[in-house]
Symmetry: C2
Subunit: 412 residues, 2 copies
């Protein structure tokens, strides 16, 4: 084998992109700049300060005082696995609410951890009513109930504010998937009595993928302390990780220094803006995008009143070719939107306006480009209708409506 | 809780460092520049090309044709866990060779995976002789034998070239920890019949921590395919990961895009230089550093003939205060060296010359600074002796010797 190949790949040379899919979104320039900072050692006193600052800001972002709050050194799915394997011992009962792709994944991971899983299912795009959850808690009496706040596969926004109290009535712990929620929509760990949560770096926080912020309540920590068996994963064992992130600074693994620089800057951006202002911004741009999408004749896949502002999943109209449209968007405009996942493969597009990318120019750009793609597909509507509707929404007020344009006709 | 704190941490503002500990080392400027590249989506055709290029270069770096070769999306310790949990099913026998901190860690992770572990121990700083390993293979008949090629805690360089054949005589798989080896010292996966290996991004490859390159031989893959139970970790299940990194591109998790940019550049740097040239450079700078350290009266903790060029562990002389010296190095010179780990805590210093940092200026700088620190500690030797011995070595030839200077006296 030739170790000094003459055909090595060249310098990184990529075409510009606007990332409006389900994540990653574009990284904020301040985050990129922070990542160009030379490394510190992972036990350098300066780095320990950075770790503390990151944890403190993460607590604010999650609205919690939980001591056990830090980013797992891997992507969001490792955060999911970390929450599951720390809370679950083989034989423990767990209810997993499944109304999309990621609920199903929690169940799969829980089974690998030895949980006895009860699946509470709802149609994709729907959300769960508290009384249905209550029935399952009563019937199953699980140790943990898991639910996805922001289902990235369907765009459904699950209300979770009442579920902590409900779970605690039945002595269950509430585990919430906030991968697509953090930094986009309200999330109040302490007030909502959430016991364990995981998120990611590449969506609401506008950092590259690679970290998964987690947080565990006092109740969750007590459950972990009562374990009779060791956590099956050494890498994801939060009791060991706490000794590294906490005052002891006990060496566990080498923290991904540059990614910590990144999330620290992403959290600074979030808190400088303010959580309320951030959430309001996401709603404003969602309303404009929605007005435009409706004007283009597109229909949301998530139930009305439960649509995520940061993840707009719309049904692909009959006769329109999924892949052609997304390829055209990418090659002609450099715009990435997401295709469907699992049951929704080929059936929906997912347009993300997350963190830094929840901006009017992203809204107008994707609507204008999508219009061209749909015209290419001979799916007909009034020219400029999407952009006009979005602008009307930005300049006016009220709920998004399709009335600014004539409705599209069926594809012909 | 106030979400818009007036006391947010400021912009990242760190003092310059020269990282000469056990890793991370300093990141090469070309890697930092690559990391400032805007994101691509993780399923973008351009990114899929980058993934392929990264895998191809990683195969060259590991000197293997193994299909199952890619970076795990987490740090080196997750690579360790990934190798263990994929190869081991509950009840499987495993021999773990322990002559330092990291061997012990493999055993701990293997036990969490349900392995029946037999510990083959040697004093810290020593290496294992093949006949001892043969005896254990014969006696235990394990499914897997694990050994550390470059023990970062002791600086011992374990020969592994004959161990693959030896393990295969007894139908065992050979698992090698190459965390500190890759990109620094020879490693020939195929020629040496290594079945599974893991490494990291922040040592020989001069990238930030955050990725763990792994590779599995055909024999290992067959063993994985014969498993009767699912791999306990979903995140680290290489059968699922192979579908993501392979032709199927089956969504598993969101790849840490920016870290992949980084390792691609780190691998380009390695292969542009050439593996042989890289290994020779590490030996050359090691010889100079060693000459200098001996001239300062310091003694290596690893056995002669088995010292890693990239990780120089030396005993802290009696009467010299570990922490004071390292603090002085850091505050006065911005130089980080490593303290001892586990049994060697407070007993050794670890000086790393890894990848980009295996350079004459690093050697001379650390020797000059260390001399000042040792003088501060009233540990006496001929002034300038360390630097002089290193320069003599650079300009001359032969094995490092302390004869260029008078030997230091005992501390007084």
């Amino acid at each position: 084998m030739n170790d000094k190949s003459t055909a090595l790949p060249g310098q990184l040379n990529i075409s510009p992109r606007l990332l409006l899919g389900p994540g990653p979104g574009d990284v904020h320039q301040r985050v990129l700049t922070a990542m160009a900072t030379p490394l510190l050692g992972h036990l350098d006193p300066q780095f320990l300060t950075i770790m503390n600052e990151t944890q403190e800001m993460l607590r604010l972002a999650f609205q919690t005082k939980n001591l056990l709050t830090f980013p797992i050194s891997a992507t969001g799915m490792a955060g999911m696995e970390s929450c599951v394997v720390n809370l679950i011992e083989p034989g423990d009962r767990m209810v997993v609410c499944i109304n999309g792709f990621f609920g199903g994944r929690i169940a799969e991971i829980a089974e690998r951890a030895g949980a006895v899983v009860t699946r509470l299912e709802a149609p994709w795009g729907q959300v769960f009513e508290p009384n249905v959850i209550r029935d399952f808690l009563k019937k199953v009496r699980p140790k943990v109930l898991a639910i996805v706040q922001a289902e990235t596969s369907t765009g459904a926004w699950q209300p979770v504010e009442e579920l902590g109290k409900l779970c605690h009535e039945f002595d269950a712990l509430l585990l919430v998937d906030a991968v697509t929620a953090l930094g986009c929509v309200p999330l109040h760990l302490d007030a909502w009595e959430i016991d364990a949560v995981y998120s990611c770096s590449q969506k609401g926080l506008s950092c590259p993928p690679g970290l998964s912020p987690v947080s565990f309540s006092k109740r969750a920590v007590e459950a972990i302390n009562r374990r009779k068996t060791k956590v099956q994963s050494w890498y994801l064992d939060v009791t060991l990780l706490q000794k590294y992130w906490g005052a002891e600074r006990f060496y566990h693994h080498t923290a991904p220094i540059t990614m910590i620089y990144a999330i620290r800057e992403g959290l600074r951006l979030l808190l400088e803006e303010g959580l309320e202002a951030r959430w309001t911004r996401h709603m404003r741009n969602y309303r404009a995008l929605k007005a435009g999408l409706l004007a283009l004749g597109l229909e949301y896949s998530a139930a009305g009143g439960h649509q995520l502002p940061q993840l707009n999943a719309v049904k692909i109209p009959a006769g329109v070719d999924d892949v052609s449209v997304r390829k055209h968007l990418l090659s002609e405009f450099g715009i990435e939107i997401g295709g469907g996942l699992g049951d929704f493969k080929g059936k929906v597009w997912r347009i993300g306006l997350m963190g830094h990318n929840s901006r009017p120019n992203c809204v107008l750009e994707v609507l204008a480009a999508l219009e061209q793609c749909l015209q290419n597909q001979r799916y007909v509507f009034e020219a400029g209708g999407g952009v006009a509707a979005a602008n009307y929404q930005y300049n006016g007020s009220g709920e998004p409506q399709a009335t600014a344009c004539t409705s599209p006709t069926a594809p012909r």
